[in-house]
């Protein structure tokens, strides 16, 4: 099996040892929304390894399974409609097949839209790999009166066809058995390949001839020729570097004459598909109104759709406050505080700095990491449920008109809205966005959505400073954030992201019942990756900030952090803030709500909200308070957000760009607010 794979890549996860034990490498391919991840989860269970594709921001999932004493390594490929290099996902899928040379590809198709699904098969069949076709969601197709005869389809296509209802675990083990059988007996693979349309056959042959011996062994000449005719950017660039200049100019001249080939090639594939399914599939045009159409009358209605969306979000936030917040509190009081007490008594004999470091620095940091978990669990469950049922696409549709002018489309709405709970799932959730530029822009904008920790600060501090007008000031500050988000979005869209506007083309999948196993895997994978990647960064940052605020002692007012804050007094004065407020802002980097505790300590009122209120109301002018709150709302994101931002963009450049941008915006807004108030002579007394 492995002798067919001379070009095995060094970057893959399997070691040579595993290869010698005859591990079969299976690539799981398919278009989006075909139930591929359900099948992957059923087959691999807890043996999953989640990482990223080397150098890419797309998730790579793989897992092991044993079928009749044979080990299989299953690689879940990104869901793609075709294999033209339009997106990173498509490039990953075909590079995997060309460079890592899997033993077999298992392609999953949706039985209820089989013809469209087979378009991907038409593309797979010109690549050098055997393919097994799994036709999933047979029950959905039957319910629509579509009948598929797998053996007839199998005879037409010349490759194994297995029918499945993955949601009920039907046909999944047969599928893997068929894949394993095909690897052992490759003779079972005699595919009927789609042929290029008549008018372009001649030019294809000519291009192939010109390619001659110049194509590296990894690629097949006919595939390269086909992709050149299709205008594939990546292959065009590669071919130009392979060919001598003279040959390349002849190729370019040929391609220029046949610019229309793209659409003809595609139409040719659909004609091939029509021939393949003619005898195997009966598809009555019943004209009946499906459940999906019925539900969509509300879900995509401009008024009812928005109302439904708001109701969904209301539910998510209600769950956050009734489930996640109490658990957070419970973890804090019964787990972290008890651990701290236990550790403190255990370290009674140790030097006091060590005990302090471990108890307050390290365990304090662990506490912050752990308290993220309940809120992340709620948000990721909500995201998975909305996506798995098919509702996410409707939410994107309904909000598209609002997002459009930010240069984003509807798919960015949901992650950004999740940001009101916590910016971390907002940034991680941006994975649902198809285009790279759209995803990056969404990530960069997410910290401007005020998260629940910042909303809590508003809720606590506005009544202290503004009494009866607290609610109005709070709304004003939240609106300010949204306004800044819109301005930054529009500006970035017209400068950095100019011309990268992604077309809004989105499948609206059929509604179906969520698969709890898939949701469980999604939530677990996301939380685990947060703990693994962001957890260590948060822990480090919180230990450092703890040290800065405790040394050289004896208390925070003489600490390095305080000295640093005092050195920033000139900037603070522009915003009407004293060094204590600057230190509170700095400490909010670990976690936003820390600003309150720090103010409490520095204004000498203990950590009780009430004492703090009285002291601060007496010494802080409304103009200062307003500028402090505005800066807090817009300030650099917390450590957890910065950590996931780096993890998701894989770029310190973008991460630091965004942090700097937010810092500049926050300080500018602070200065403008304070100076304007000063100039107008409002609210400056009392300082």
């Amino acid at each position: 099996m492995s002798d067919a794979r001379q070009n095995s890549s060094k970057g893959s996860y399997a070691t040579d040892l595993e290869r010698h034990e005859q591990t079969i490498v299976v690539g799981l391919a398919g278009q989006p929304n075909v139930g591929k991840s359900t099948i992957f989860n059923l087959l691999t269970g807890l043996s999953q390894h989640v990482g990223n594709w080397p150098g890419k921001t797309v998730e790579r999932k793989e897992g092991m399974l044993v079928h009749q004493d044979i080990k299989l390594r299953l690689v879940d490929l990104p869901g793609t409609y075709s294999l033209t290099a339009n997106s990173e996902e498509e490039r990953i899928t075909r590079d995997f097949i060309l460079h890592e040379r899997p033993d077999v590809i298992v392609m999953i198709a949706d039985a209820s839209a089989l013809e469209r699904n087979l378009y991907l098969l038409a593309e797979l069949l010109v690549l050098p790999v055997p393919v097994v076709l799994g036709v999933n969601m047979m029950d959905v197709a039957e319910a629509q009166g579509i009948h598929i005869q797998p053996h007839v389809l199998e005879a037409a296509l010349g490759l194994p066809v297995i029918t499945l209802v993955a949601a009920r675990n039907q046909g999944v083990s047969e599928l893997i058995a068929a894949a394993e059988r095909l690897v052992r007996k490759p003779a079972g693979f005699k595919p009927t390949r789609p042929k290029i349309a008549e008018p372009h056959r001649e030019v294809l042959a000519q291009v192939r001839k010109l390619l001659g011996q110049h194509v590296p062994a990894l690629y097949r000449e006919d595939w390269v020729a086909l992709k050149l005719l299709e205008g594939d950017m990546e292959i065009t660039e590669k071919a130009q570097s392979w060919l001598p200049d003279a040959d390349w100019s002849s190729v370019v001249a040929l391609l220029k004459e046949h610019e229309d080939a793209v659409l003809d090639i595609a139409s040719g594939r659909y004609e091939w598909i029509a021939r393949m399914v003619r005898a195997a599939v009966t598809h009555p045009r019943l004209g009946q109104i499906s459940v999906t159409d019925r539900l969509d009358r509300f879900a995509v209605h401009p008024f009812w759709g928005l109302l439904l969306l708001l109701a969904m979000f209301g539910l998510v936030f209600w769950l956050t406050f009734t489930v996640a917040t109490p658990i957070q509190h419970w973890l804090d009081v019964y787990v972290i505080e008890r651990l701290q007490a236990w550790l403190a008594s255990g370290l009674a004999d140790a030097p006091s700095w060590l005990a302090d470091l471990l108890v307050n620095g390290v365990l304090g940091g662990v506490g912050i990491v752990v308290t993220f978990v309940p809120i992340l669990a709620v948000f990721f469950t909500a995201l998975a449920l909305l996506e798995d049922t098919g509702y996410l696409a409707r939410a994107a549709y309904v909000t598209d008109r609002f997002m459009h002018f930010l240069g984003l489309h509807g798919k960015s709405f949901l992650p950004l809205f999740l940001g009101f709970g916590c910016n971390v799932p907002a940034i991680m959730g941006a994975r649902v966005i198809g285009s790279q530029s759209g995803r990056l822009l969404t990530i960069l904008l997410a910290p401007l959505v005020p998260c629940s920790a910042r909303l809590l600060i508003l809720a606590l501090l506005t009544p202290v400073f503004f009494g009866n007008q607290a609610l109005m000031v709070s709304w004003g500050l939240v609106s300010l954030n949204i306004l800044v988000l819109a301005i930054v979005g529009i500006t970035l869209n017209h400068t950095v992201f100019r011309g990268q506007h992604a077309a809004f083309i989105m499948e609206m999948p059929l509604y179906h019942l969520p698969n709890l196993r898939s949701i469980g895997h999604f939530v677990w994978n996301n939380i685990w990756s947060f703990l693994r990647k962001a957890g260590t960064i948060i822990l480090l940052v919180s230990v450092v900030v703890w040290a800065l605020s405790n040394y050289p002692g004896p208390d925070i007012e003489q600490s390095y952090l305080a000295r640093f804050g005092q050195s920033l007094t000139p900037i603070g004065q522009l915003m009407g803030m004293d060094w204590r407020m600057i230190v509170a802002l700095l400490s909010s980097f670990i976690a936003k709500e820390n600003a309150i505790a720090t103010l409490g300590i520095l204004y000498g009122a203990g950590e009780e909200g009430r004492g703090l209120a009285e002291t601060m109301a007496a010494v802080v002018s409304p103009a200062t308070a307003l500028s402090f709150l505005a800066v807090t709302m817009l300030f650099i994101p917390c450590a957890a957000t910065v950590a996931v931002m780096y993890k998701e963009t894989r770029s310190w450049r973008w991460t630091l760009f965004d942090v700097t941008l937010l810092l500049v915006i926050a300080l500018t807004v602070g200065v403008i607010i304070y100076q304007a108030a000063h100039w107008l002579g409002i609210g400056v007394s009392g300082a």
């Binding site: 839209a113 378009y119 299709e230 595609a266 139409s267 659909y270 008109r401 809004f504 499948e507």
Partner: protein, 87 residues
């Protein structure tokens, strides 16, 4: 149905059926549409179009939402005008 009417997709009312005749807007755009089923010659039905905002079409058993500016680039032939009866 004597004369052929070629119009942009965004002009068709819900319930209208049509055939895709031309895709404007470049190779990349066209190949994305084609891969989702909207190829030249494919028959579709407009499911939703409110005169503003995105449009939904049903093609090859797939519901596809298209932004208005995307629908503008799809040239189609209108087949018949037949409102979908409401149950």
């Amino acid at each position: 149905m004597g004369e052929q009417k070629f119009v942009s997709l965004h002009r068709l009312a819900p319930g209208t059926r049509g055939i895709v005749r031309r895709l404007q807007g470049g190779n990349e755009f066209a190949s994305r549409l084609v891969a989702m089923g909207l190829s030249i010659g494919s028959e579709f039905e407009v499911l939703q179009n409110r005169g503003h905002g995105p449009v939904i079409v049903l093609v090859r058993d797939t519901r596809i939402a298209l932004g208005r500016s995307e629908a503008l680039k799809i040239v189609v032939e209108e087949l018949e005008r037949e409102r979908r009866e409401t149950e």
